[in-house]
C-alpha cells in the first residue's frame, strides 16, 4: 500500500531509466511545455464559459457600470478583442499571443497584462524565494536537533512539525504582525519593499512550509540513523554532530528537495494571502482585485505566469535532485 499522509501528496520521483541529466532535462522540458499548454487551454475555456455577453461585460467592467449596451457601443470592443471570430480561432490567436509573450489586455486598466504584472512580479518572487530559504534553514536546524533523540524530544519535534504545517497563513501572519510589529515594534507594520519589511511576510510563508517539509525529512532522518553507514561512521569514532550533519542529513533532505518544487507553487498561493495581510505589493494583490472585478485577462495572465514559474521551479528541482543524489548520475 502506498503511504498517503498528506492530502495534496506531491509526486514521488523515481530514477529515470536514462539518468543522463541532459536527456532527463530535455524530457522534463517537453512535459513542462505540455503542462503549460494544458493550463492555457483550461484558462481560455474557463473564460469562454462565463455566462452573458462578453463585450457587454468588458465595457461594463471598464466603465464600472452594469447596464445594457447598444450595438454601436459594443462594436469597438468586439473589434478590439476579436470577439466576432469563432471560439477556436480566438483560441489560436490567444496561443499565438502567448508564444510571443503577449498575455492580453486588461479590461479595466486598458494596459497590457504583462506590463501590469511585470511591475509587481519582482516583489512576489523575492518574497517566495526568501521564504523557501528561511523554510530550509528552520527545517534543517529543527530536524537535526530533535529527530532520533529521546522519546520526549521526538514527540515534541513531531508535534511542532504537525502544528506548524497546518497553520493558515493569514492567521500566522496576523500573530507575527501583532507580536513583532505592533507589540515589540521590531519590524514595520506596513511591509513596503525594503529588507525589514520582508522578514515577517517571508517567515509567515516559511514556518508552515518548514513544518511540512520537516515531517518528510524527520521520517527519512530517523530511517537513515538506523542505516549501516551510520554504524560504520560511529565505529570510526565520529561524534553525534558529525554523523548527523555529514551522513544522515544528506540522505534525509532528498524528499524535502522533491517537495520544494511543489512547495513553491503552494508558497505562491500563500503569497497571495500574505501580501493581503501585510499590505505588501505583489501579484497577489493584483490577482485578488482582478478576481473581484472579473478582469479575466489579468486573472488568466497571472495564473499562467505562476504556472510557468512553478513548472520552471520543478525543472530546477529535478536537476538539483541529480546533483545531490549521485546514485542518479551513474548510468543504470
Amino acid at each position: 500500500m502506498t503511504r498517503t499522509s498528506s492530502a495534496e501528496a506531491p509526486p514521488t520521483r523515481r530514477a529515470s531509466p536514462t539518468p543522463v541529466p541532459l536527456r532527463l532535462v530535455a524530457g522534463k522540458a517537453v512535459a513542462a511545455v505540455l503542462v503549460l499548454l494544458g493550463a492555457a487551454t483550461a484558462a481560455f475555456f474557463a473564460q469562454a464559459a462565463i455566462p452573458g455577453d462578453r463585450a457587454t461585460a468588458i465595457l461594463n467592467i471598464r466603465n464600472g457600470q452594469a447596464i445594457e449596451r447598444t450595438a454601436e457601443e459594443l462594436a469597438p470592443i468586439i473589434a478590439e478583442y476579436h470577439l466576432d471570430d469563432p471560439t477556436f480561432v480566438q483560441y489560436l490567436t490567444y496561443l499565438r499571443g502567448l508564444v510571443a509573450g503577449d498575455l492580453g489586455t486588461s479590461y479595466q486598466q486598458h494596459r497590457p497584462v504583462l506590463a501590469i504584472v511585470a511591475d509587481q512580479l519582482g516583489s512576489t518572487v523575492v518574497l517566495t524565494l526568501t521564504a523557501l530559504l528561511f523554510a530550509w534553514v528552520l527545517m534543517i536546524v529543527w530536524v537535526t536537533l530533535t529527530a532520533g533523540r529521546g522519546p520526549r524530544v521526538r514527540a515534541v519535534g513531531g508535534f511542532v512539525d504537525t502544528v506548524t504545517a497546518g497553520l493558515p497563513h493569514y492567521w500566522l501572519g496576523i500573530i507575527l504582525l501583532l507580536v513583532f510589529a505592533l507589540g515589540l515594534g521590531w519590524f514595520p507594520v506596513i511591509g513596503g519593499t525594503g529588507l525589514p519589511g520582508l522578514i515577517l511576510p517571508a517567515l509567515t510563508l516559511a514556518i508552515p512550509l518548514a513544518g511540512f517539509m520537516g515531517q518528510a525529512t524527520r521520517t527519512e532522518f530517523e530511517r537513515a540513523l538506523d542505516q549501516p553507514f551510520v554504524l560504520s561512521a560511529r565505529t570510526r569514532g565520529m561524534g553525534e554532530a558529525g554523523v548527523r550533519l555529514r551522513h544522515v542529513l544528506r540522505h534525509a533532505v532528498l524528499p524535502a528537495i522533491t517537495l520544494s518544487g511543489w512547495a513553491l507553487g503552494a508558497t505562491i498561493s500563500g503569497a497571495v494571502v500574505v501580501e493581503a495581510v501585510f499590505a505588501r505589493p505583489g501579484i497577489g494583490s493584483v490577482l485578488v482585485s482582478a478576481v473581484n472585478s472579473q478582469d479575466m485577462p489579468i486573472v488568466i495572465g497571472v495564473v499562467m505566469l505562476i504556472a510557468a514559474f512553478y513548472v520552471i521551479a520543478n525543472l530546477v528541482v529535478d536537476v538539483a535532485y541529480v546533483l545531490v543524489d549521485p546514485r542518479l548520475r551513474r548510468a543504470a
Partner: protein
C-alpha cells in the same frame, strides 16, 4: 531482590541492535492517546455548536450593542465584542454550521471528483487514462488556491462557489492518490485470483478493487475537511467568500481585519478556532489511517 539479577546486555555480539545507536528507541504503545482524546472532545464540541448553537451560545449573535463595541475578552463577553458590540463568542458558535458545512461540502465535492477521475485515469482504457492522467497533471500543477480564484472569477463569490472552488481546487491531488491506490490494488494477488476464477470485470471492480483502494479515503476525508475549511477561510479572508455580516469564520476574519491594530482578538480568536478544527480533523484522520492500516495487516 534487587536489580542485580537482570541479565547483562549482550555486549556487542548478536545483531547490531538499536542499543548501539543509543538514540533510536521506538515507543511501541503510549499508555493513553491524549491527542485522540482531545480531538474527540473538540469534535463533540464542534458538532454541538453546529447542530444546537443555542445550547452553547451566551448572546444573540446578531444583536448589536453599540456602547459595548470593541471590548476585549472578559467574563461577560468571553471572546470580546466586535465593532457593533456583537458578542464574538456567540458569533463563532453560530458560524460553526456554515463553516463546517462549507468544509464538508467541499471535501465531498473534492473526493467524489477524485474517485471518478482517479478511477478513469487508472482503469479507463488506454486513451481515456492517458487523457485523464494528463489533465490531472495539468490541474495538479496549478496551485490549488489559483484554481479556486479562477473559478470564483468565473462564477462570482458565494458560499456555493466557495464549496465548488475549494472542492475542485483540491481534487487533483486526491485523484492522483486514488489512481495510485487503484493501480496498486489492480496488481494484487487477490485480483489475480478473482480473474483466474473467471469473475466479470464489473464484479472485480466493485467487489475487490474499489473497496480496497478506497478504504484509505475514509481517513483522507477527515483530513480533507480540515484542509477545506482552512482553504475556504483563506478565500473569505481575501474578501472572496461569504460576505461579512454572516458569522462564518472566514467572514469574521475578514471583518476583523479592519480593526487589527485596536482589536486584535477579532482576527486572532476566529483564526485560533479554525486552527483548532483543522488540527482536530488532522488528528482524527491520522488515527483513522493508522487504525485502517492495522486492520489490513491483521
Amino acid at each position: 531482590m534487587t536489580a542485580t539479577h537482570t541479565p547483562p546486555r549482550s555486549a556487542g555480539f548478536g545483531p547490531a541492535g538499536p542499543g548501539l545507536a543509543g538514540t533510536t528507541r521506538r515507543v511501541t504503545r503510549p499508555a493513553i492517546r491524549w491527542d485522540l482524546a482531545i480531538a474527540l472532545a473538540t469534535t463533540v464540541l464542534f458538532a454541538v455548536a453546529a447542530v444546537w448553537p443555542q445550547l452553547v451560545a451566551t448572546h444573540n449573535p446578531f444583536a448589536m450593542d453599540l456602547p459595548a463595541s470593541l471590548q476585549p475578552p472578559s467574563p461577560a463577553h468571553w471572546f470580546g465584542t466586535d465593532e457593533a458590540g456583537r458578542d464574538l463568542y456567540s458569533r463563532v458558535v453560530y458560524g460553526t454550521r456554515e463553516s463546517l458545512g462549507i468544509g464538508i461540502g467541499a471535501a465531498l465535492v473534492s473526493l467524489s471528483l477524485a474517485i471518478v477521475l482517479g478511477t478513469l485515469a487508472a482503469l479507463g482504457g488506454r486513451v481515456a487514462s492517458a487523457v485523464v492522467g494528463w489533465l490531472l497533471e495539468v490541474a495538479f500543477s496549478f496551485p490549488a488556491l489559483l484554481l479556486s480564484l479562477l473559478l470564483i472569477a468565473v462564477l462570482g463569490p458565494s458560499a456555493l462557489t466557495q464549496i465548488l472552488a475549494v472542492g475542485i481546487g483540491t481534487a487533483p491531488g486526491y485523484a492522483r492518490m486514488v489512481r495510485g491506490q487503484i493501480l496498486a490494488a489492480k496488481d494484487s494477488a487477490y485480483v489475480e485470483a478473482a480473474v483466474a476464477l473467471g469473475h466479470s470485470r464489473g464484479r472485480i471492480l466493485r467487489r475487490h478493487i474499489l473497496p480496497n483502494a478506497l478504504r484509505p479515503l475514509v481517513a483522507v476525508f477527515a483530513l480533507s475537511i480540515g484542509q477545506s475549511i482552512v482553504w475556504a477561510s483563506s478565500l473569505s479572508f481575501l474578501g472572496l467568500g461569504v460576505a461579512p455580516p454572516s458569522p462564518e469564520w472566514g467572514a469574521l476574519l475578514d471583518a476583523g481585519r479592519a480593526f487589527i491594530t485596536e482589536a486584535g482578538w477579532l482576527t486572532v480568536i476566529p483564526g485560533l478556532v479554525i486552527v483548532l478544527l483543522a488540527l482536530t480533523a488532522t488528528t482524527l484522520g491520522r488515527h483513522l489511517q493508522r487504525f485502517l492500516e492495522k486492520g489490513e495487516t491483521a
